[in-house]
């Protein structure tokens, strides 16, 4: 009887351990994981901008075929492109940009106002990311202008999931968009 009891207790302990391990495994199996990578970015340019023009209406931002789509001077918002990867195996929902901070090289830090967040092909970003999938999103913000960032700036972007988890990425030093690029 004692021997049976000992064996029974040992089996229970083993079973509990298995359940515990299995439980951890179950948690892991349904864990959501978001990885955010820097892809590219620039600080735009204020050259050719009209003081009263809406940035979104400037030629660089609107379709070239849209009649009267705005100026031709090269005015362009800043933009950061990020890759979001879901390395877990549950669908991520409610992904969104939480904050965007500009850190001027040798200067101050300030929050950037976000103009829009879209996928890199220009389509809408719905905040959803399937397991084992990755997408690229492009965040646009008003160009700070060369005079403010002559030596460049880094940008810190914080992405949050619907569950409240945060992922932070800091870009390398970004610069004003070249208007000739040669």
């Amino acid at each position: 009887m004692t021997r049976f009891k000992t064996t029974f207790i040992a089996l229970c302990v083993a079973l509990a351990a298995l359940v515990s391990v299995a439980g951890c495994g179950t948690d892991r199996a349904f864990e959501s994981r978001l990885e955010v990578s820097y892809v590219s970015g620039h600080l735009g340019t204020d050259q050719g901008c009209s003081s009263n023009a809406k940035l979104a209406d400037i030629a660089g931002a609107c379709a070239a075929d849209v009649p009267n789509c705005g100026g031709y001077g090269g005015c362009e918002e800043g933009a950061v492109t990020l890759q979001l990867a879901n390395t877990g195996n549950v669908t991520l929902l409610g992904l969104q940009l939480d904050s965007l901070l500009l850190q001027i090289v040798g200067g101050n830090q300030s929050a950037l106002s976000v103009l829009d967040v879209k996928r890199d092909d220009g389509s809408a970003f719905d905040g959803k990311l399937e397991p084992n999938a990755s997408i690229k999103i492009r965040v646009r913000f008003p160009a700070p202008g060369y005079q403010k960032v002559p030596k460049g700036a880094t940008i810190e972007a914080v992405i949050v999931t619907g569950g409240g988890k945060q992922q932070r990425v800091i870009t390398p030093e970004l610069h004003v968009l070249p208007t000739v690029a040669t």
Partner: protein
């Protein structure tokens, strides 16, 4: 002749498939990594799991802009891409790589003429405003196309008007020059590789800006035909658009030599980053295209030297050649395509501004190749000297000491290079 590179022996396969190789080429070529231009490339190029390697590839369907497109824009209609075809040619397979050097060069010619280096709002205005074409140096060709201006769909899905290498680095030429040019350099009425010194992009940008109700930066009108300011650093430093021949002999790229040629892949890396920057870092070109472009540029040659009747007497040429050996060859090395290493800008007579810009200033100017120098006027990085004689008299530290018959003999020799 030895060439100005050869540190390693890259192949198309290494450039196309080995990110570490590309990264190494970039790092070794940017010999002033502290400059903003260098930092911006080093921060994002060939990082593998981040940066520009993750960018989506460019769309490759393009078409040369035509008079019909101009009329569409004037009428407020959308541009049609019905006539667009792959940069590599109709029916081409993007997965199939050229099989030999000639095929790479042939593909490079199409890239040169058809792959947009960047979209530009002012180009759309330019295309839709034919009354300013002559004023800014745009010429409609017999088939109705505009050289170097294409339409395409960008990565966002919008139809854009963009410029290709052929807008600035090809020049209208007369029938005799065209007939004498190698077939791979003929481009309709123009010769690829020779800078278009009649094209005034500063004026075009200024007119476009004003047309949209935005005061144009007055510096744009100061550039003049054949010159552009390639840096965005608040300093007005327009430079002459260069001819593109003699690439195999060059030791550095850009007037201030910010890029050192450390490998035949240097120019491919350079072009790749140039397209990425031009497209706002939203897309990247397929590397087969940038490798092909680098092979094409390397193959470009200046037009043939003057025919026999116009060649000066051999005695004068011999004297000029001897003078060159004595006075010029230590910098413009004949065994390196008459190019050389860098010289301190402070030791030269011309404006050091381009050599000291905040973005790309190295403190030096590169010693350019003199191959095809007879076609290179106006001279110097800023195009400030109209002739070889004025260059020698005013713009070159060793040229001042050469005058009279010696100057004529030296120029006669230079014109044969």
């Amino acid at each position: 002749m030895a060439i100005g590179c050869g540190v390693d022996e890259p192949t198309a396969e290494r450039y196309l498939g080995d990110g570490a190789f590309r990264r190494g080429v970039l790092e070794r070529s940017l010999w002033r990594p502290d400059l903003p231009y260098s930092r911006s490339l080093l921060a994002s190029y060939a990082l593998g799991d981040a940066g520009w390697d993750l960018l989506s590839p460019m769309t490759e369907l393009t078409a040369l802009v035509t008079r019909a497109d101009s009329e569409a824009l004037q009428a407020g209609r959308a541009l049609s891409l019905d006539d667009a075809e792959p940069v590599a040619g109709a029916g081409s397979d993007v997965d199939a790589l050229p099989s030999d050097e000639a095929a790479w060069v042939a593909l490079g010619k199409r890239v040169f003429e058809r792959l947009p280096m960047r979209p530009d709002g002012f180009l759309r205005y330019l295309v839709g405003t034919p009354e300013i074409w002559q004023r800014v140096g745009i010429r409609e060709r017999a088939d109705g196309t505009l050289r170097g201006i294409v339409k395409y769909r960008d990565v966002r899905g919008d139809v854009r008007v963009g410029l290709t290498c052929a807008l600035c680095h090809a020049s209208p030429s007369d029938d005799a020059a065209l007939a004498a040019a190698p077939a791979l350099q003929r481009n309709g009425d123009s010769i690829n590789g020779r800078a278009d010194r009649g094209l005034d992009l500063g004026l075009a940008r200024a007119l476009a800006s004003e047309a949209s109700g935005v005061s144009a930066d007055p510096r744009l009108r100061s550039w003049g035909a054949g010159r552009v300011d390639v840096t965005d650093d608040g300093v007005n430093t327009p430079t002459a658009v260069p001819d593109l021949w003699a690439m195999p002999y060059k030791t550095h790229l850009n007037h201030s030599g910010v890029i050192k040629i450390v490998s035949p892949a240097t120019s491919a890396v350079r072009f790749e980053t140039q397209y990425v920057l031009g497209h706002r870092m939203e897309t990247r070109p397929r590397r087969a295209l940038t490798w092909a472009l680098s092979r094409y540029i390397a193959a470009l040659q200046p037009p043939a030297p003057p025919s026999a009747p116009s060649v000066p007497p051999s005695a004068e040429l011999a004297r000029g050649k001897a003078l060159f050996g004595e006075r010029c060859a230590s910098c413009h090395r004949p065994d390196r395509g008459f190019a050389g290493e860098m010289v301190l800008a402070s030791q030269l007579m011309h404006d050091p501004a381009v050599a000291t810009t905040p973005e790309r200033g190295t403190g030096y100017y590169k010693v350019p190749s003199l191959v095809g120098v007879r076609y290179g006027a106006p001279y110097l990085h800023d195009g400030s000297e109209p002739t070889l004689a004025s260059l020698l008299e005013r713009g070159h530290p060793r040229g001042r000491a050469i005058s009279g018959d010696d100057q004529r003999a030296l120029i006669a020799y230079l014109e044969t290079l």
